[in-house]
């Protein structure tokens, strides 16, 4: 893991985070759905930059492909045909108008990441000062708790190595001052990248333009339920995000995750043991979607291992 000084939150740990880079500017990716043509250049750029090669699949009777996020496809376009009110000026036909709503799906990089909250593996999920939520695959134990914790159903566990994967917001590129690969590849500039402040200002302009074109419900998707996100959308129908292939209207971290964290995590963190984890997670990799019970998660006390693992990371 590079630039550990940037890590402001870390899964399953009570150690205080470094604060030397607290003044780092928060970043955001803005996806203007109204300008997206669904070309999938972002999908291809993502696979290219991250050296991923998903399987050559099949056509399922829709334009979507792959059909869902996978451990090798960290972003996918989702296409949805809906009938909405005619907005092109005067309503000449008095009919509903067909819209083809195309949304690039992937990690939202929540300010309050449910995956990180839920993750029991120390340091497998981190949040950087710039807002990016990243997975440190070395530490991932493949339990699938991040999936449960995610209000957007994003992470996927690989069948190859039983580890969880998702969009990194190209943290490696951003770290050296480059935009994420999908932003670089987007031909219509519907994906943009910059400081969250700048992106919100951009989004405001776009929303105003859409309102002038008759989309009265145009708005920014930056849901408060997860503390806001570092991937935001401009939507023509922000009152109905569900139209965009089931985008959550009011995403929140599952109360189960919240309760688990609030009550048990401090205790658990103190007593978690790497040895136990190793044995236990070897077992659960057979069925990563199965959620282990609390009793299974709580391992034997082995403070020594935990500490030495921390040291290993600091070095």
């Amino acid at each position: 893991m590079i630039n550990s000084q940037n890590i402001v939150a870390r899964s399953a740990t009570t150690l205080p985070a470094p604060h030397v880079r607290d003044d780092v500017v928060e970043v955001a990716k803005l996806i203007d759905v109204s300008k997206c043509i669904g070309c999938k250049a972002c999908q291809v750029a993502c696979m290219e930059w991250n050296d991923l090669r998903d399987e050559v699949g099949e056509c399922h009777g829709v334009y979507d492909n792959p059909m869902d996020l996978t451990a090798d496809s960290w972003t996918v376009m989702r296409f949805n045909e809906v009938e909405t009110d005619f907005v092109g000026g005067e309503d000449v036909s008095k009919e509903k108008e067909l819209s083809w709503l195309i949304r690039k799906d992937g990690c939202m990089h929540c300010a309050e990441p449910g995956c990180l909250e839920a993750c029991p593996a120390p340091g497998a999920i981190v949040k950087y000062a710039n807002g990016i939520v990243d997975f440190d695959s070395n530490n991932c134990i493949g339990c699938g708790y991040c999936i449960t914790g995610c209000p957007f159903n994003i992470p996927r566990i690989s069948e190859k190595d039983s580890k969880s994967y998702k969009c990194t917001l190209c943290s490696d590129r951003v770290n050296v001052g480059l935009e994420p690969a999908c932003v670089k590849a987007c031909p219509t500039n519907c994906i943009e990248f910059g400081s969250k402040k700048d992106m919100l200002a951009r989004a405001d302009k776009r929303v105003n333009d859409l309102k002038e074109r008759g989309y009265e419900q145009a708005g920014i998707y930056d849901p408060a339920g997860v503390g806001g996100t570092h991937v935001m959308y401009v939507l023509h129908h922000s009152d109905e995000p569900g139209l965009y292939s089931g985008l959550a209207k009011d995403p929140r971290i599952s109360p189960v995750v919240g309760a688990w964290k609030g009550i048990t995590k401090p205790i658990m963190s103190a007593i978690l043991g790497i040895t136990a984890f190793a044995g236990f997670f070897h077992y659960i990799t057979k069925g990563p979607k199965e959620e282990p019970t609390d009793e299974e998660v709580f391992g034997e006390d082995d403070d020594h291992h935990r500490v030495s693992r921390e040291e290993e990371h600091r070095s």
């Binding site: 291809v44 696979m47 699949g57 195309i102």
Partner: protein, 811 residues
């Protein structure tokens, strides 16, 4: 494109029709989104399907495939009857006021001069202006004369009323009205609409006339030569513009000069016919310089062997014994067993050419087939059985196939000419793999060997081969730099001005085609490319994107033909006094202080021609004005008329229901055998159209894993209603057949396809993406050209891939 990609951002309205610009040109489409976001532009998308372009459009409408002339002809009728035209522009910059000959006529779908036995207009003499005693065309500036072009046009399109349009196109009246009224707003001088089209217009038997209709709309709106205006072909291949520029068509020479036909054996008559003189007094008529370009070409090809005494080797040029020796003709002859061998360079005809069965049979009758390509194409394996995907009996095919692997564009230095006529130099990014060689090296070695054979053994007509100027450092491998300088051209002796001062030393590169002479002192391989590589170096390699006027016109970025001009006819962006039509659209204007035309672009006009002289802005035309009336330049009529596709889902042409001769383009290109292969709507009731998907590029990218991942398997698109009729749901397999073959594919069942009401019945469309085949890493699929008919556009011979009929069944 008359304009260029970046210029799209200057538009106030964008009509995307006859193409799916977002899908097929996603990178260029960024200028559409720029116009939408930064210029408050509205996007209109008209297509048989709801496309990716429609997904971001302000207005969209379905249209039956092949009926675009009806929609645009109706728009002409609407603009004229509601007086939403740019009147001053129409009066001064078009042929509206010119009078047409008295014997010109149009009756029940047929123009004067038609010979039904030949399916052609053998006598086009009446398609001409009425000339006065001085040889110039007569005109009526009041536009009231019944035979002035404006009145003839008004009358011609008076039949295209909104009910007729609605019933032929299958578009509800209210959608038509709404879109026409939006477009009508662009008739004001300070607003422009750009039109983006692609193969959705060209690939019809009436393709050229569809595009002409669109150009007529733009003339009525005063949008030609304007920033954010024009008529813009989005080319389907990254270098197809360069192909036509260099004349790689059987009847053309480089730079849109033309070969002589067999009757034209006399050199001066050949030149005279092409060196067009003005037919309005004082006009520029730039083609009058034809001989300068022609002689320079001959000097470039034949060097010292081309002299005035031998008419610059005119006798060595082939003369066409029939109009065309193009790909339609070649495969017809191949099918008849008349060809021995075929060189197939950068072309995959088994996949790309209509009626795949005919192609297979033709290739099987060759003695040898040479395929030059970076990829393992279907054509190179046409003889190999791939089950249902290529069901041939290899033991019955004796053709010897030789594959010569070539490098691809990323492995060569050279220039690529984009849709905007920009020649952009690029540098090899990698070495070609294995035995791959540049095409030029293969052709170079081939030429040397052929020449050696002629030298050693003689031949029937060795002169043009033995005398071809072949002065390259390595004769077997001409370099891109040498070839580029060759097409730019050089002075062969010192050039002097009228006072005898030397303006160009012998051996120096020319700065422009204006330096060319008709007396053999200059050489140039392609006159329109002259200026691309001058004494100042390789202009195509320039990468200065400064934009001093904020118009997106970056004259220091690469180089555009002609003369680095970015917007054609740009003189028309100023009024008759030479002032911009509106300050928002200031582009090129007359500076009386400087006594010259100035502005953001290289003026497409004699740079010191005072507006008071009144020269017209369309300097390539002998009248100096834009054409509503095409005269004799089109083979199928001076005004575009709607004709049904050769395979139509309806019984007659609703505009001429009682004239079977006028059902389809009366001058369309079709051979007798191919006519027999047309189907009937009773057997094949569904209208079909083929197209490209953004995830793929033609038949190439199915060889690339990432493209295959994002669009892995062949599909066709049908409406929910049609799916219900044939009993399938999304994801089921369907069989699509025409009178020529069949394919099987997954059904994408979508609201984006709708049955259209044509006359008294519903017509279903079937959308057929083209990209799959039996080689590559994507899922194997059927070559869709098993379905398409061998029918060509009357003017360009482009096959009618966009409109034919099929039957859809559950597989």
């Amino acid at each position: 494109m008359t304009n260029h990609w970046v210029d799209i951002r200057n538009a106030n309205m964008i009509l995307s029709m006859g193409g799916n610009s977002a899908e097929a040109h996603p990178v260029g489409f960024r200028w559409v989104t720029e116009a939408i976001e930064h210029n408050k532009a509205k996007l209109i998308c008209i297509d048989p399907r709801y496309t990716r372009t429609c997904a971001v459009a302000d207005y969209k409408a379905f249209i039956r495939t092949g009926t675009d002339i009806t929609f645009l002809g109706g728009l002409i009728h609407y603009l004229i009857t509601t007086d939403q035209i740019q009147r001053e522009y129409v009066l001064h910059y078009t042929d509206a006021s010119l009078l047409v000959r008295e014997d010109y006529g149009f009756e029940d779908g047929i123009f004067t001069g038609y010979n039904p036995d030949n399916h052609s207009y053998d006598d086009k003499s009446s398609w001409m202006y009425e000339l006065g005693d001085d040889g110039y065309a007569l005109r009526d500036m009041s536009l009231q004369h019944p035979r002035c072009v404006y009145q003839l046009m008004r009358e011609h399109y008076s039949r295209y009323d909104i009910d007729t349009v609605s019933s032929i196109c299958g578009m509800p009246r209210e959608h038509i009205e709404h879109i026409w009224s939006e477009i009508g707003k662009m008739a004001v001088p300070h607003q422009t609409m750009t039109i983006l089209y692609a193969l959705g217009w060209t690939q019809h038997s009436i393709g050229s006339q569809i595009i002409r209709t669109a150009a007529m709309v733009q003339l009525l709106l005063g949008n030609m030569g304007m920033p954010g205006g024009g008529i813009n072909a989005l080319r389907g291949h990254s270098n197809i513009q360069g192909l036509t520029d260099l004349g790689l068509l059987s009847q053309l020479l480089p730079g849109y000069m033309s070969l002589a036909n067999a009757k034209e054996q006399d050199y001066s008559a050949y030149i005279q016919k092409r060196a067009k003189q003005p037919i309005l007094e004082g006009e520029v008529s730039y083609w009058k310089n034809y001989e300068k370009f022609h002689v320079s070409l001959m000097k470039s090809w034949f060097g010292d062997a081309a002299t005035e005494d031998n008419n610059w080797c005119f006798d060595w040029l082939p003369k066409l014994s029939k109009p065309l020796y193009d790909v339609l003709d070649t495969f017809e002859r191949m099918h008849k067993g008349e060809l021995t061998g075929y060189f197939c360079q950068g072309f995959n005809p088994l996949a790309s050419f209509p009626n795949r069965q005919k192609v297979t049979e033709g290739l099987s009758r060759l003695k040898y087939l040479v395929v030059m390509d970076p990829l393992n194409t279907e054509t190179s394996e046409f003889w190999k059985n791939y089950g249902e995907y290529n069901d041939v009996d290899s033991s019955q095919i004796q053709t010897e196939v030789i594959r010569l692997p070539t490098t691809c564009f990323a492995e060569d230095d050279g220039s690529i000419t984009n849709s905007a006529r920009w020649l952009q130099w690029h540098w090899a990014a990698a070495q070609g793999p294995g035995e791959a060689r540049p095409d030029t090296r293969i052709m170079g070695e081939l030429f040397i060997r052929i020449r050696d054979l002629y030298r050693e053994e003689g031949g029937v007509f060795p002169d043009p081969i033995l005398n071809l100027d072949w002065d390259y450092d390595i004769p077997e491998a001409p370099s891109s730099e040498e070839l580029a300088q060759e097409y730019n051209g050089r002075a062969l002796v010192d050039l002097t001005d009228d006072n005898g001062n030397v303006t160009r030393r012998a051996g120096e590169l020319l700065s422009s085609f204006s330096e060319m002479t008709a007396d053999g002192r200059t050489a140039s391989g392609c006159w329109i490319f002259s200026g691309a590589w001058t004494q100042d170096g390789n202009q195509m390699a320039r990468r200065d994107n400064s934009d001093p006027y904020g118009t997106g016109n970056t004259l220091g970025w690469a180089w555009a033909w002609p003369a680095n001009r970015r917007v054609l006819y740009n003189r028309a962006s100023a009024d008759t006094q030479g002032r911009p039509w509106g300050k928002e659209k200031a582009f090129v204007w007359w500076s009386s202080e400087q006594g010259r035309w100035v502005g953001a672009d290289i003026p497409d006009f004699p740079v010191t021609s005072d507006p008071a002289l009144g020269q017209g802005p369309f300097i390539m035309q002998p009248e100096g004005v834009g054409h509503f009336f095409a005269g004799q330049s089109m083979v199928d009529g001076p005004f575009p008329e709607h004709y049904e596709p050769f395979e139509s889902p309806i019984d007659n042409n609703p505009l001429h229901p009682n004239n079977p001769l006028a059902k389809n383009n009366p001058a369309g290109r079709i051979y007798d055998e191919d006519r027999k292969a047309l189907g009937t709507r009773e057997e094949f009731p569904h209208a079909a159209t083929t197209y490209r998907l953004t995830e793929h590029f033609h038949f190439w990218t199915k060889h690339a894993r990432l493209n295959a991942v994002v669009q892995p398997e062949q599909f066709v698109e049908i409406s929910h209603q049609l799916a219900e009729e044939v009993g399938v749901v999304a994801g089921d397999w369907v069989r699509v057949s025409s009178n020529r073959g069949f394919i099987k594919a997954v059904a994408v069942v979508t609201k984006r396809m709708q049955p259209l009401r044509i006359g008294d019945r519903d017509v279903h469309h079937v959308g057929i993406p083209i990209h799959w085949g039996f080689t590559g890493v994507a899922k194997k699929g059927y070559l869709i050209n098993a379905l398409t008919p061998v029918v060509g556009d009357a003017n360009t011979q482009t096959p009618e891939y966009k409109s034919f009929i099929v039957k859809v069944e559950k597989a």
